[in-house]
């Protein structure tokens, strides 16, 4: 144990700084792709409400496909396949590819979460709003969605934890973030165990508040909610 800690002797200061900066890049990547996923997920959840069959099918295919394949496949598609196939317009930096990939993948998951949140509300809420003379859009915005938020917040927070961990995969397409930095440091110092353990600690520090938030929200939002 002591011997193991000795390994950090020469590196600790530099690594703390390097990995700290890289953690910020990870958080940034997570933040941007989170909002992209939210936007995509919201659109994909609301489209079926319009009851247009063709659009409905499209959304179903999107959700089915992106939920069923690993993020890695999507990242490879965006970063390797599209440029290699000769679509030069679609050549993007690894960072953009990471955001797009995580956003598209997360959008499919959030769409399901949003949909179940909207459907968990009693139908009477929508009917009452419509009978008061609200347009469907207004009823959605002022009556249904504010109540649905309560139901969906805990799973969204849970999704955020998953997203944070998925950003590690972006190191495979060399997007600048914590895992990539850890790999660099591991190979330049020949101390892989030390570097990856430290990366794990950094990830844990970032996910810890999120995981506690999930627990808090589950208790807080569960209060007075009809179950079963």
């Amino acid at each position: 144990m002591i011997d193991f800690l000795r390994g950090y002797e020469d590196y600790l200061g530099g690594w703390l700084w390097e990995m700290g900066i890289a953690s910020l890049a990870t958080l940034q990547l997570m933040f941007v792709s989170f909002w992209l996923a939210c936007a995509i997920g919201m659109v994909a959840a609301l489209i079926p409400m319009a009851r247009i069959k063709a659009l409905n099918l499209l959304v179903k295919l999107y959700i089915g496909f992106f939920r069923g394949v690993p993020v890695l496949v999507i990242l490879y598609w965006i970063y390797f396949a599209l440029p290699e196939m000769g679509y030069e317009v679609l050549v993007v930096s690894s960072y953009t590819a990471a955001i797009l990939g995580l956003g598209l993948h997360g959008g499919a998951f959030l769409a399901e979460i949003f949909r179940s949140g909207i459907e968990s509300l009693h139908k009477g809420q929508m009917e009452a709003a419509l009978s008061l003379g609200m347009t469907p859009a207004k009823a959605m915005a002022y009556i249904v969605l504010p109540q649905a938020i309560r139901v969906v917040l805990p799973p969204i927070a849970n999704f955020a934890v998953g997203l944070l961990k998925e950003t590690a995969l972006c190191s495979i397409i060399a997007a600048p973030e914590l895992m990539l930095r850890a790999k660099d440091l591991a190979s330049s110092s020949f101390l892989p165990m030390h570097a990856f353990v430290m990366a794990a600690v950094f990830y844990y520090i970032m996910s810890f508040p999120l995981m506690r938030a999930v627990e808090y929200l589950e208790v807080k939002m569960g209060k007075g909610l009809r179950t079963g």
Partner: protein, 225 residues
């Protein structure tokens, strides 16, 4: 667009068998990791519901760390980190151990939620009939909890299939690794789109049936109540 499919057709005999073999490897790793997770998860769950803090807190810590750090980091620690300390695994066993240990945290939570969902009265009744706590767990609690656990366990299996993709980074010959190797080693850059599309197809062939099973189990759970 037609050229895309014509090329796919031309290259089909080259790429399909390779990816099919890789899928077999993916399934193998997935089943191995599932078995490790199911067994280790039981230990984690029983420790977490134990009365003794000495058992409860380590299990809590294990679950938290495994769920709070990326599986990629864990696998790198097991494969690259441990080999640095002199413990060497081949990629496939490192993958099975890594994904299994990671899964044990999730499966443990599923077990615990299932066990805790069974009404206290059930244990009390079993104990008052003179059963030992271990027997009450074995014959009264677990058979009932199993019904509640099956749907989330099935969902976990789906996640696991998708998680196997990351072990391509430690050169375990599964779908994503073989696909990348096909593209790079044989210079088939122009058909990389077709290859990755086929990868997606193989993953969907594994996950879609599982998600149907999960849906069925979810419905069956309602009926069993």
């Amino acid at each position: 667009m037609p050229e895309f499919w014509i090329k796919m057709w031309e290259w089909w005999p080259e790429i399909f068998p390779v990816l099919l073999r890789a899928t077999a490897m993916t399934v193998q790793v997935m089943i191995g990791a599932l078995i490790v997770a199911l067994i280790l998860g039981m230990a984690v769950a029983l420790m977490r519901i134990s009365k003794f803090k000495l058992l409860r807190y380590p299990a809590l810590f294990y679950t938290d760390v495994m769920r709070g750090t990326p599986a990629l980091v864990q696998i790198f620690i097991i494969y690259f980190g441990l080999s640095d300390l002199g413990i060497e695994f081949d990629p496939v066993s490192a993958a099975i151990i890594g994904l299994g240990m990671n899964g044990a945290a999730y499966v443990g939570e599923i077990y615990r939620a299932g066990i805790e969902a069974i009404h206290r009265g059930q244990v009390e009744a079993a104990l008052s009939l003179g059963m030992t706590p271990a027997r009450a767990m074995r014959y009264i609690i677990l058979p009932q909890a199993l019904r509640l656990m099956l749907p989330p366990l099935c969902n976990y299996a789906i996640l696991l299939v998708k998680d196997t993709a990351i072990i391509s980074t430690i050169a375990a010959p599964e779908i994503m690794f073989e696909a990348r190797r096909l593209v790079q080693a044989t210079f088939m850059y122009s058909i990389s789109g077709q290859i990755y599309l086929l990868c997606a197809g193989f993953y969907l062939a594994l996950t879609l049936p599982l998600s149907q099973v999960a849906k069925r189990l979810e419905k069956a759970k309602e009926r069993w109540r």
